[in-house]
C-alpha cells in the first residue's frame, strides 16, 4: 500500500471500526518499516542527521529527569526496606527498579516528547505540502527514504539514552541513599550482585529499543496522516505523543510480565 492510500481516512463508520482500521494501518506501516529496514539499503545520511537531531534534543532532558527519578526510587525504597528490615537490599532493589522500569520509560517518554513530536511535525508539513505525494510519483518510497531512517534513529538513540539514564539514575540513587539516608556504601554495592543479573540489563535495553521503535512509528504514522491544513498537523503532533504514551505503558506491562515469566529471578 502506498502512503497516500494509507492516508485515505474514511468518514467515521463507527468508533470501534474506525479505531480498528487506524490500528490496522499503524501496524501495516510498522511492518513496512521493519521490512524496509531489513531488505533495503539504509539511507545513511538521513539516518545520521536524524540520529544526531533526536539525540541532541533528548540527552539533556533525560539526564535531568533521571537524577530526581533515581532519587525518588532510592528514597522510597530506602524507607520501605528499613520498615521491612531489608536495608541491605536497598541498592539492588532500587537499581533493578531503575534499570528495568524507570529508565526505558523515561527514555521513551523523552524521545516521544522531544524527538517524536519533531518527526511528526516534519512529516506532517511535508504531507500537506504534497512533498510525500511528489516523492511517491517520482518512484521513491517515502517509507524507505524518510520513515525508516527516522525510526532506526529513534531506536538507537533510545538504547544510548537508556544507558545514560541508567547510569545517571543509579548514581543519583546512590548519592541519595548513601549520603542523605546514611546507607552503607558497601552494602549498597554488594547487594547488586546478590539480586541483579545480566538479563536485567538486557531487558532494559530491549525495552528501550522497542519503545524507540514505537515512538518513531507512531510519530511517522500520524505525520503521514495529518488532518486538514496546518491545524491538522498540530493536532497530529499532539495525538502522536498521547498515543505513544498510551502504547508505551501497555507494551511495558506486556514485556515486564513476559520477562518475569521467562527469566527466573536470581536465587530461585
Amino acid at each position: 500500500m502506498t502512503a497516500q492510500q494509507q492516508r485515505e481516512h474514511y468518514r467515521k463508520p463507527s468508533p470501534p471500526v474506525a479505531a480498528l482500521s487506524q490500528a490496522g494501518r499503524l501496524f501495516s506501516l510498522a511492518w513496512e518499516v521493519l521490512r524496509t529496514l531489513v531488505t533495503r539499503r539504509l539511507q545513511f545520511r538521513e539516518f545520521v542527521e536524524q540520529f544526531w537531531f533526536i539525540a541532541s534534543v533528548s540527552i539533556l532532558p533525560s539526564a535531568l529527569v533521571a537524577i530526581p527519578f533515581g532519587a525518588v526510587i532510592a528514597l522510597q525504597l530506602g524507607s520501605l526496606t528499613v520498615q521491612i528490615g531489608a536495608q541491605s537490599f536497598t541498592g539492588a532493589a532500587s537499581v533493578l527498579a531503575l534499570i528495568q522500569q524507570a529508565s526505558p520509560i523515561v527514555t521513551a517518554l523523552v524521545i516521544a516528547g522531544a524527538g517524536g513530536s519533531a518527526i511528526c511535525a516534519d512529516l506532517g508539513a511535508r504531507t500537506i505540502r504534497e512533498e510525500i505525494d511528489a516523492m511517491e510519483v517520482l518512484g521513491v518510497s517515502p517509507v524507505h527514504r524518510l520513515v525508516a531512517p527516522r525510526v532506526l534513529a529513534a531506536m538507537l538513540v533510545a538504547i544510548l539514552l537508556n544507558g545514560v539514564v541508567s547510569v545517571v539514575g543509579v548514581m543519583g540513587g546512590y548519592f541519595f541513599n548513601v549520603v542523605m539516608q546514611g546507607g552503607t556504601p558497601g552494602a549498597y554495592l554488594a547487594s547488586f550482585s546478590a539480586l541483579a543479573q545480566l538479563p536485567d540489563l538486557w531487558i532494559s535495553e530491549i525495552k528501550a529499543l522497542i519503545f524507540g521503535f514505537i515512538a518513531g512509528v507512531v510519530a511517522a504514522y500520524r505525520g503521514l496522516n495529518p488532518g486538514k491544513g496546518p491545524k491538522g498537523v498540530g493536532d497530529a503532533v499532539n495525538q502522536s505523543v498521547v498515543i505513544t504514551f498510551l502504547l508505551l505503558f501497555f507494551v511495558n506491562f506486556l514485556l515486564t510480565a513476559l520477562y518475569l515469566q521467562l527469566v527466573p529471578a536470581k536465587g530461585t
Partner: protein
C-alpha cells in the same frame, strides 16, 4: 509522442461520500486538455487517481494498456515514470535547493554522470525561466518560481504525460499566462499529453485544445474546446462568466429556495458579479515563434473533423469558421450557417 490516457467509468468515494462517479474521457495523445470545476469537486482527487496515489472503487484508467486502478505495484512504478506531475504549490523538497530538487529524479532513476545531470538540470531551469536560481531553497522564492521549479522537476525524465494541478493558484493573471505559455512551449517541444486542472477562466478559454468540467459529482462534458466554450448548459455558462446567477452556489449546488431568492435579487437589479460577455470562442494561444510546430494541433484537427458531425451545431460552426479555405476544401466542409 505523448501517451493517450483512457478513463472509463471511474468512480471515487471516501467512505460514504462519493466524490465523482462514472467519469469517462480520453485524453488525446500530445494534446493539451483542461479540467474545470468549482472548488471541492474533486479535481485534485481525480489527478491523484490517475497516478495511482488514490484508488478509485470502480472503473479503469488505461495508459499504454496498463490499468492504473488494478495493476500491480511493479507496473504502477513503471507506468509512473511516464508521468510528470506539477502539484499545486510545486511540492518541492524543502531541504534541497532548486538544483538538487530538479536533479532528484535523475539521480534516483538514471545512471547519468554528474556533469550530464548538471547539463539537463540547467537546461530545464532555463526553459522554465529559472536560470541562475539553482542555489536557492524553496522557502526563499516566490510561489510562481516554486511552480516553475516544480515544472522543471516534472520535465527532467522526459515525461509523456504531464499533469498540472491549478497552475494559477497564487499567481497573478500575467504570471498565469506566462506559465501557460511555458506549457504550450513544452508541449511543442516534447509533444507530451497535458492535463491541466484549473478554475481559471482565462486559461481555460485560451490555452487548452480540449476542455472538460466536473460538476455535481460528474463529468458534465469533455471534448474539443469549442464544445464547452459554446455550451448552453447553465452550470457551464455560469462558471465561465464567474457569476452568482446560475445553479452553482456557495458551497454545494443551490437548493431551489436559495436560487429563487437570489433570482429575485438579481431581477431587482443586484449585480450577480462576473463578466457579462464571455460568449464565443477566443483565439487559442500558440507556442512561441521559433518553437517546433505543435504536433498535437495538427492531429487534433484531423480528429475533430472526423467527429464533427457528432458535435453540437454551435461548436461545429466555430470549428469550420476557424479553418482556412484550403482546409475547408481539404475536409470537404463549407460555412453553410452564415
Amino acid at each position: 509522442m505523448g501517451a493517450e490516457v483512457v478513463v472509463e467509468g471511474l468512480t471515487k468515494s471516501f467512505g460514504k461520500q462519493t466524490i465523482w462517479r462514472d467519469v469517462t474521457m480520453t485524453l488525446p495523445a500530445g494534446e493539451v486538455s483542461a479540467l474545470l470545476g468549482p472548488s471541492g469537486t474533486g479535481k485534485s482527487v481525480f489527478l491523484k487517481s490517475m497516478i495511482g496515489l488514490l484508488k478509485p472503487e470502480r472503473g479503469r484508467c488505461l495508459i499504454n494498456g496498463v490499468d492504473i486502478v488494478t495493476c500491480s505495484e511493479r507496473q504502477l512504478y513503471e507506468t509512473r515514470k511516464l508521468f510528470g506531475v506539477l502539484f499545486q504549490d510545486g511540492a518541492l523538497f524543502g531541504s534541497m535547493n532548486l538544483f538538487d530538487n530538479v536533479a532528484f529524479p535523475l539521480r534516483e532513476h538514471t545512471r547519468k554522470s554528474e556533469s550530464e545531470i548538471k547539463r539537463i538540470v540547467l537546461e530545464k531551469l532555463d526553459i522554465t525561466g529559472l536560470a541562475g536560481a539553482e542555489k536557492k531553497l524553496p522557502g526563499e522564492i516566490s510561489g510562481g518560481m516554486r511552480k516553475r521549479a516544480g515544472l522543471a522537476r516534472a520535465l527532467v525524465l522526459d515525461p509523456e504525460i504531464i499533469l498540472v494541478d491549478e497552475p494559477d493558484s497564487g499567481l497573478d493573471p500575467v504570471r498565469t499566462t506566462y506559465i501557460s505559455q511555458v506549457f504550450l512551449d513544452v508541449n511543442a517541444q516534447i509533444d507530451a499529453t497535458f492535463l491541466i486542472v484549473t478554475h481559471n477562466i482565462n486559461l481555460a478559454r485560451t490555452v487548452p485544445d480540449n476542455i472538460g468540467m466536473l460538476y455535481r459529482k460528474e463529468l458534465v462534458m469533455f471534448g474539443p474546446r469549442e464544445v464547452l466554450l459554446t455550451s448552453e448548459e447553465p452550470a457551464v455558462k455560469q462558471f465561465l462568466r464567474g457569476s452568482m446567477d446560475g445553479p452553482i452556489g456557495m458551497s454545494e449546488e443551490k437548493d431551489s429556495a436559495t436560487a429563487a431568492a437570489e433570482q429575485a435579487l438579481f431581477e431587482a437589479g443586484h449585480h450577480a458579479g462576473g463578466v457579462e460577455d464571455i460568449s464565443g470562442v477566443p483565439e487559442q494561444m500558440q507556442a512561441t515563434p521559433g518553437m517546433p510546430e505543435r504536433q498535437g494541433v495538427r492531429r487534433r484537427k484531423d480528429r475533430v473533423m472526423s467527429i464533427l458531425h457528432t458535435l453540437p451545431p454551435a461548436a461545429q460552426r466555430h470549428i469550420i469558421d476557424s479553418l482556412s479555405p484550403a482546409e475547408q476544401h481539404h475536409y470537404n466542409v463549407r460555412q453553410v450557417w452564415r
